[in-house]
């Protein structure tokens, strides 16, 4: 029988659209905004429309029961638990960004701004469920292209334009790297389906490591590294964060990190149905490469953040450092094949929890910057926040929560994420030949880095509370931004004090959790 006429294959291919319905709702709303926007470009109108679009997508996502595709090796999208987690992360963050970016979306381009935002969110969500190299690439571009536009939209002065150009060029470069790596993967395996690629490579690499496959993996790591702002692909971050509009920067600080990490985990087989099926186990030395990148990323990010006087540049390097912490989870996840069924943290679940926590605190910090900035009194330097504790007690309190969470103080979500990463690092086996005690060393390095990082976050807290206001920031009227700030601070605190629901969600999303419950 012709395999193409197999009803299961046909059903898998035709069922794809059902799996992407919430994203289609988002994209439809965005298209509506692009088409009608030029005729009625009111901010409140498109804010409401975009919010309705996100709400609609949430309803669809909540109601639709996605069935796993019959033939995963041809399915372009795969609706597993990780995909669901990433989708909810994308939808919720889209809603938050709508509120956060209220002051930026005016000036006659509200429709375009909100439309791009929805497209980017759809891109992140699709990245989470892409099971095909082409789909994955398109999803990542769906995230990148609107970001270029968002960076250009309010680009009136030179730093703005420099940021936009820099981001565009380096993003295109990373896409090229990614495609280059994908082409090797396709050439080696003859398919673009990730499940099939992972299976083929796992079997092939078990016998003998293919250097071409390793090269492909290194290229993919490099391309994802750009999105995660991993050292040495972080160079654009400080300039873009400094020059770009704060609301867009908040998105750049969060959404590409989610997409990059999830894409990398997919291609490396860390989110596959059976996480022990890995094309690049520890003896291929790819985890060692990730280890080195993680250590470099967190150390370089933290040390350079120490030197910054500009708040946005500091947050940029802090984002670099947190990218390094996130990579710990990937490094740990690669160790799982050697470590089946040990009941603790697996790596990917820690990554998911940390992503949620990181999103809340970093977006929150940028939202505070955006809330306090006015065109004639922008918040650039750390000193611009002097005396904020007296002039804006609530905003300063929220900013303190975000900063303490970034430090990783207990009772904040950031601590929970760090704890899980540490526990994960210690769960990894200490006796593999190529890694040895490196996982535990990684935890120690991360701890030292957190202590170093505390210095520059604490400096901001000190400036806000221990200095008297020189020129207090103007009182912004942007109520939606303030609501978003309060909600994010609430999220950080609630899931810091009672983290069980968040961690449960993360564990459900990671394939490790599934094997664990099976083991007892």
């Amino acid at each position: 029988m012709n395999p193409l006429s197999d009803p299961a294959v046909q059903q898998t291919l035709t069922g794809v659209f059902r799996l992407a319905l919430p994203e289609i709702v988002l994209l439809g709303t965005a298209c509506l905004a692009f088409l009608v926007g030029p005729f009625a470009n009111r901010r409140w109108l498109w804010f409401a429309a975009a919010l309705a679009g996100v709400a609609g997508a949430m309803v669809v996502a909540g109601v639709m029961k996605a069935e796993p595709p019959a033939v995963p090796t041809v399915a372009p999208l795969i609706p597993d638990a990780a995909a669901a987690f990433v989708r909810w992360l994308a939808l919720i963050s889209a809603a938050v960004f709508l509120f956060v970016s209220w002051p930026e979306a005016g000036r006659g381009h509200a429709a375009e701004y909100y439309g791009c935002l929805l497209v980017a969110a759809a891109g992140v969500s699709l990245t989470g469920r892409a099971n095909d190299l082409i789909t994955l690439f398109l999803a990542l571009e769906l995230l990148s292209i609107p970001t270029y536009i968002l960076l250009y939209l309010p680009a009136q002065d030179r730093p703005n334009q420099e940021a936009a150009v820099k981001y565009f060029l380096l993003s295109v470069l990373s896409s090229a790297l990614l495609l280059f790596g994908f082409s090797y993967l396709y050439g080696l395996t003859g398919t673009t389906n990730i499940t099939a690629i992972v299976d083929t490579l796992t079997r092939a690499n078990a016998a003998e490591l293919s250097p071409m496959a390793l090269l492909a993996a290194v290229l993919v790591v490099a391309a994802a590294g750009f999105r995660v702002t991993a050292v040495p692909f972080h160079f654009y971050a400080p300039d873009v964060y400094e020059g770009g509009p704060a609301g867009v920067v908040a998105q750049i600080a969060f959404l590409p990190k989610v997409a990059g990490l999830v894409a990398l985990a997919r291609v490396l087989g860390l989110l596959a149905a059976d996480p022990r099926h890995q094309p690049f186990p520890v003896d291929t030395h790819l985890p060692l490469l990730l280890w080195v990148v993680a250590v470099l990323t967190m150390s370089v990010g933290n040390v350079l953040a120490l030197l910054q006087d500009n708040l946005r540049r500091m947050l940029a390097y802090s984002g670099v450092a947190h990218g390094g912490y996130l990579l710990i989870g990937l490094v740990v996840a690669t160790s799982l094949p050697d470590n089946p069924g040990r009941p603790a943290v697996g790596g990917m679940d820690a990554v998911f929890v940390y992503l949620a926590a990181y999103g809340a605190m970093t977006v929150g910090a940028f939202a505070v910057v955006l809330y306090l900035s006015t065109p004639d009194r922008p918040i650039d330097g750390i000193d611009d926040l002097a005396g904020l504790g007296e002039s804006h007690p609530v905003t300063a309190g929220c900013m303190t929560v975000f900063l303490l969470s970034l430090i990783g103080i207990p009772l904040t979500a950031g601590f929970v994420g760090k704890l899980l990463l540490f526990v994960g690092a210690f769960t990894a086996p200490a006796d593999t030949l190529s890694m040895g005690h490196l996982y535990q060393v990684l935890a120690v390095i991360a701890a030292v880095n957190s202590a170093v990082g505390a210095y520059y976050y604490l400096r901001v807290i000190g400036v806000m509370y221990l200095r008297s206001p020189v020129r207090p920031p103007a009182d912004s009227r942007s109520l939606p931004t303030k609501l978003a700030v309060l909600a994010l601070a609430g999220f950080t605190l609630v899931f810091g004090i009672y983290p069980d629901p968040l961690v449960k969600a993360g564990r459900r999303a990671a394939p490790v959790a599934a094997t664990q419950t099976a083991d007892g």
């Binding site: 009941p343 540490f422 210690f426 535990q440 000190g462 509370y465 664990q516």
Partner: protein, 595 residues
């Protein structure tokens, strides 16, 4: 019989009440100090009830200490645990809790599992420290009465957060919960020092304090996680419950040792002990900074100098004890072999240097505040030595000394508030002959200074004698003769030297006083100060006369720790354990004779 559930609620209140107070006090505006005092007194009442309820149970336990060695006995047993599953049957207690904050795996609720819980309770080691936390806040509020005029509501609010953090850390029996409370003390300290500090460098001092402590304690966190994940329970699960974890550590080490005795294969034991060394280093890092142990004390002079006097009082009385308590609660039971092998020989040497260094700095100090600060460093070195001696005398002496030192040093700082309120300076060169000027103040000062020196009849004498006795333990490896005891004795001698020198300069000779900071005549102690200073003086005297009241409840827990220490010594020395009741060597778990 509803007594047990009531006490569980009261124990929860010990932590919750300060947090509620912190939220409420700022609402009172200018009357905040009165509200704070009332709330602190209320807390003292709750504490008194808990102590009264805990004493019979703890004393009872102390009388039932079984002879011989039993792994089941080598763990802490918290009483009055809120959320105890035995709550439905009000008269029984499982010493565990159901209140889970974070579940990392699936374990039946009645068994220990990988979950982080709100697990607090009272035992012999923490009951007096909690009482100390509750009591010392009262003088801290009283000495800040006049001194803090800038936003007093926020100031007292942060004081209560600090108290909640310290009490929570003392009460915690979940290793991660302890860490959470331990870190929670940093935030109020940061604001209290940085916002209400007195010196020009207060911001730097606050930041240094925060960063040093955080840096150390992050390593402690890594160490704690490492201990948890390398010491599974018999069923292969992990646990964050300190009692279960402690028993698991002893079981794993004891099992490897029994294996060694039986087969002569020391490999597994050596591997475990090697791992212990690294975990010990990580664990102790945070506590050495917090205590502090020389050379990690460099944050101390700045923080103590810049902080407002009420906060300095709490820093020295409560927060420094968190470091030594961490040694007692975590380092000794979780890495016993490394604590025996490297505790006294390595950390002990640092502590010994700290004793002498602190004493010499205290002698050289021209500011009385700095003298007390450095004397605190010196005394804490002694305390660390007492703990690391890892035997009954040392451990009970150290636990007692934590309370004694907290009261006497805290009160010494409270004394300085008297001078600061009147003259805004504590520079001893500007004072002289105060005995004639303020006779009542001088009397209180003499009592407290003599208590600090360790005069018999006052509190520190008892605990210092016990710790000294603990240092004369020749079983500890690497202890050349009685070197540590000699260093500790020199420290006591030096403390007499610098304290008496200070007394001579400030209280005798012709009257010298700096220009007063307040208008009108300068009076002797007022009723508020009588309470703030007289209370600790009375406590010093009381504890010096009847220390046994404090020592009895901690007997069982100290014995459990000492057992852990004895077993660890055997393992480090590689000799088969000898049991006093004449059981043959080689059996590691003799049956308990009279349970």
């Amino acid at each position: 019989m509803y007594l047990l559930p009531t006490f569980r609620i009261l124990v929860l209140l010990l932590v919750a009440l300060p947090l509620v107070s912190a939220a409420v006090v700022p609402l009172f505006g200018r009357a905040a100090r009165r509200a704070a005092l009332l709330l602190a007194l209320l807390h003292a009442g709750v504490t008194a009830a808990v102590v009264a309820g805990a004493l019979p149970a703890l004393n009872q336990r102390g009388e039932n200490v079984p002879p011989g060695r039993d792994f089941a006995f080598q763990k802490f047993t918290p009483e009055f645990v809120p959320g105890d599953p035995g709550v439905s049957d009000a008269s029984t207690s499982t010493h565990r809790t159901r209140w889970t904050l974070l579940n990392l795996g699936d374990a039946p609720p009645d068994r220990a599992g990988p979950r982080i819980q709100f697990y607090i309770g009272v035992d012999g080691l923490n009951v007096w420290l909690v009482a100390l936390c509750s009591l010392m806040v009262i003088p801290a509020i009283l000495v800040s009465w006049e001194a803090v005029a800038d936003r007093p509501g926020a100031f007292y609010g942060w004081l209560f957060v600090l108290q909640a953090g310290a009490i929570g850390a003392f009460l915690s029996f979940d290793v991660i919960l302890f860490y959470a409370f331990f870190e929670l003390t940093l935030i109020p300290s940061f604001f209290l020092i940085g916002r209400w500090g007195e010196g020009p460098h207060r911001r730097d001092a606050a930041r240094t304090f925060f960063l040093y402590t955080l840096g150390g304690s992050l390593l402690t966190l890594v160490g704690v996680v490492g201990v948890v994940l390398t010491n599974p329970l018999p069923d292969g699960r992990f646990t964050f419950e300190l009692p279960e974890l402690m028993a698991a550590v002893q079981r794993n080490l004891g099992g490897a040792f029994a294996e060694f005795l039986r087969t002569g294969d020391g490999g597994p034991l050596a591997e475990k002990q090697n791992l212990q060394f690294w975990l010990f280093l990580c664990l102790i890092a945070g506590f050495m900074v917090k205590a502090p142990v020389w050379p990690f004390h460099t944050w101390l002079p700045a923080a103590y100098r810049e902080a407002p006097i009420g906060v300095t009082l709490l820093l020295s009385a409560l927060l420094a004890k968190l470091g030594t308590f961490g040694l007692l609660r975590f380092v000794l039971p979780l890495t016993p072999d490394a604590a025996v092998a490297y505790g006294l020989p390595v950390v002990g040497v640092l502590a010994g240097i700290g004793i002498v260094y602190g004493a010499l700095c205290a002698y050289a100090a021209r500011d009385i505040k700095m003298m007390v600060a450095y004397s605190s460093l010196s005394h804490l070195g002694f305390l660390v030595l007492g703990i690391l001696a890892f035997n009954r005398e040392g451990l009970s002496g150290a636990t007692l000394h934590m309370v004694n030192h907290g009261v006497s040093t805290g009160a010494l700082f409270a004394l300085l508030a008297f001078l600061l309120d009147r003259y805004r300076t504590t520079d001893m060169r500007q004072y002289g002959g105060l005995t004639g000027r303020f006779p009542r103040f001088a009397f209180l000062a003499f009592v407290l200074c003599f208590a600090s020196i360790g005069l018999p009849g006052l509190n520190n004498f008892v605990s210092e004698m016990l710790m000294m006795a603990g240092l004369f333990d020749a079983r500890n490896p690497g202890v050349g003769g009685f070197g540590y005891a000699v260093v500790a004795a020199v420290g006591i001698f030096l403390s007499a030297w610098y304290v008496l020198t200070m007394l001579r300069r400030v209280f005798f000779g012709p009257v010298v006083e700096p220009p007063p900071a307040v208008a009108g005549p300068v009076h002797d102690v007022n009723p508020r100060e009588v309470v703030a200073l007289g209370g600790p003086v009375a406590v010093c005297l009381l504890l010096g006369l009847v220390p046994q009241v404090l020592l009895n409840p901690m007997k069982a827990d100290v014995a459990a720790l000492a057992e852990v220490g004895d077993a660890a010594r055997d393992r480090v020395a590689g000799t088969a354990p000898k049991f006093e009741d004449g059981l043959p060597a080689g059996t590691i778990t003799p049956a308990r004779k009279n349970p």
